[in-house]
Symmetry: C3
Subunit: 348 residues, 3 copies
């Protein structure tokens, strides 16, 4: 790969400040970039690297200070870098088109055009595989699964019967879609399994992380709405609904029947109880434990999670608690002494 | 599927109050049920839906208020619904009986009657596979593994050498049984691996969630006793023992050699240190961190976990801490002023 | 297996105190050991078992008290036991050498001597598989993956394109290496995927737990340095670097671009934010939430994590908070009364 800086500037929608003649052969982080590489500064934390970087050009924001380096000025350098990366590297590896001879495809399954189905893939009966779908080796789909156009299932993903995955969805390695919800009725000294007869419904443009597990509904559907991105090792229990364009960091767990709104952001390792409602545009700090509803627009964190402002004030007060104990002890001594003095005065 | 309401009432052990002539074609949640569907109310939270539901009949408890809807009265509507669901839908998908021609079965392995062994399954040598076992595609069993009668291993489950799984056990997709325990001896600047030569022993009627990992013992066995249910993404370390009829929600982690009693209930994301003992009938709240033994019958939560009552009192006190800081500051000012006044009086 | 105690003592570097004639047929935990078995005491907690154990011999430290049992005295009984276990049991199962006829190996891939490649393994193009590597059934390697000499990949492990794994590395079942980092740019109401074009680099003698996920870098490499051991279900995000000889217990999660030093020890379920630096020789307690840098040598814990001493003091003060509230209330009453008295006196 080799691009003239002018071509790069055109893709990025940027203006060149400096030597427009350089050839760009790759992208790199500012700390690591060498001659021929293009880098970017989006976070002020990284501005200090501008003096020492050996990159041939740097994508920066329109209001970035002047520099003796070759700059590409644009409105949003991170997004411009991402556009370039997508253009230059593509969105990931491409599996060879076609159906590998060892792939097993059940009766009544329809397979679209331009698909790539790898070695030792097992697809059940009456499934629907859309055009341009990529299914990597070792994936197992049960009967009547639907995978929309352009979706990618990486190696060893498993999807159980009747689950429906939209278009341009990505499921990373080891992701589990449609395992039984965790439902039992305790009766006469032991647990009886409640059949989990629902499905998982994943809408368009969703991304599901590696080894994340999404349980099927008891009845109805567990739903992940369009544009939502789930990181690795997340647990989504039966009958959960997650809204649109919501992002959740790794190892978060959502208990049964909880509903989460649109444009919500969760840090990692958040836990949320069952039958809770979280509104739209909510932000939840990492490791929080949510045990009650959260209104739209709120910023919550803590264990148990409450308004960030409240929790911050408590945590700050908590750091003063050992000192407070000493202050109260001192007050008690002074008051004892005052009381004695007062009694003596009264006795006079 | 279509059942007369009288047949339904018979299976559920319920009495009909209303139109006994309706035909039932399916089950559904009360919010979603339509004509021809049966639903239930077990949780008072859902009673409000009775007026608006379009279900043809509703399973309710014996003491449920009268209604103009067709009711099926019984002692335990949730359990009755579960019994019906098991009867009407079965307990999950059934893999086609027989051994798929691509399944590889090692020498000396005994396979029972009525089994279903899917495509690309790999079973080691000298294993024992009981009658009616279902093994889904992509499962890998190492040598000398035993799987009891009627158990189900979903797609891509892995079980390492010599582990023993009882009867009617279910392991969901991606579950790992018998990986090495995390044991190392630090010696001369680096960690030396301690061979993990024990096994995992899973008794009858246990359920293991998707992508849950159960490590083999260093010596002896990691044990999950009968009737216990583990949710997804749980970590069970080497030499742990979990008692009978215990349930643990997702993402809980149990460190090495810890023993957990019978009829215990853990919320999600609980962490428990190594070499701890938890008694019988214990309840532990979600996200708790257990660092010492818990006596039988206790209800613990918090980080670190202690009696729920103690932690509740502390958390409630904590919310009053910022106000307490102000109160103590005010007291200090009053006392300073009192002290001055008193000194003046004494000086008179 | 049967060894004379003298042979055992020689392997263990121990001296015999008692009956040197016993035959040892196996190793066992002290609570479970029977005749013919050798056990050890390394932890004082287990000394109480010496009177009741039926083991034929016991490995103990040089300064262990005298006993009527047959003792093998040595400097480090745990390490001696480990050495014996490695000698007697080996380091785990061995896959049959050779390449299984169902394994698929892509063009241009080089395979070393003495390898064991199991059934239904899929290896991409231009990979490099070192000598004596063991790859269990169901493993999927994408193109241009390198696996160093003597490494072991257990069943259903997946490794994506261009990732590099060193020598004597062990990856347990379901481990995921090189999944996409969780990187999106929010632009015009939806998230755009940032291509994750970097790799994962795992150095020599690393161990990766079952179902642990290690994301590839956005650019550059996510790095796990030599001798480091990661337990099960851990999440390592893009561009993280973990130093040498560091150990992390299960279910820990590390967010993007965080750097962790050498000889660090993390308890289970620790969460650490992105772009953080943790020094060398740091210890972090289980379930801690790290949101800022930790200097070398520190012992941190808590949520949020701070110096263990500080957090301990706060937690201890917190237990006294309900009582403190009562004490302050009482002080307020006394002061009110004192103030009244003083006013009366002044009024006199």
């Amino acid at each position: 790969m080799s691009y003239n800086l002018k071509e790069i500037a055109k893709i990025a929608g940027a203006s060149i400040e400096g030597d427009a003649g350089v050839e760009i052969t790759g992208l790199a982080k500012i700390e690591e970039a060498g001659p021929g590489q293009l880098t970017f500064i989006a976070n002020p934390k990284y501005e200090k690297y501008i003096h020492q970087t050996r990159a041939s050009a740097i994508l920066v924001a329109d209001d970035f200070p002047k520099s003796d380096k070759t700059l590409l000025r644009c409105k949003d350098p991170y997004f411009a870098f991402l556009t370039l990366a997508q253009k230059l590297y593509g969105m990931g590896p491409s599996l060879a088109r076609g159906v590998h001879p060892t792939a097993i495809i059940g009766e009544g399954t329809q397979v679209g055009k331009g698909v790539a189905i790898g070695a030792y893939v097992v697809i059940g009966e009456r499934c629907h595989i859309g055009d341009d779908v990529q299914i990597y080796p070792g994936v197992v789909l049960s009967n009547e699964v639907a995978i929309g156009k352009g979706s990618v299932l990486y190696a060893n993903v498993t999807v159980r019967e009747r689950c429906r995955i939209g278009e341009r969805v990505i499921v990373h390695m080891g992701g589990v879609i449609g395992s039984d919800g965790f439902g039992f009725a305790f009766h006469e000294g032991r647990y009886h399994k409640i059949p989990q007869t629902g499905i998982v419904l994943i809408e368009d443009d969703v991304e599901i992380g590696a080894n994340t597990t999404i349980d099927r509904a008891t009845l109805g559907a567990t739903i992940i709405r369009r544009g939502t991105k789930l990181d690795n090792l997340i647990q989504v229990a039966h009958n959960v609904e997650i809204g649109e364009h919501t992002v959740m960091a790794a190892q978060t767990g959502i208990a049964g029947s909880t509903k989460i709104g649109n444009n919500v952001r969760f840090g990692g390792q958040v836990g949320i109880a069952g039958h809770i409602e979280v509104g739209d545009n909510v932000t939840v700090g990492a490791q929080s434990g949510i045990d009650k509803n959260i209104p739209s627009g709120a910023y919550f964190f803590g264990y148990p999670a409450r308004s960030a402002r409240t929790v911050m004030r408590e945590l700050s007060a908590l750091t003063r608690l050992p000192e407070l104990l000493r202050r109260v002890k001192k007050l008690e001594e002074i008051i004892e002494s005052l009381t004695e003095q007062l009694q003596k005065q009264s006795a006079k």
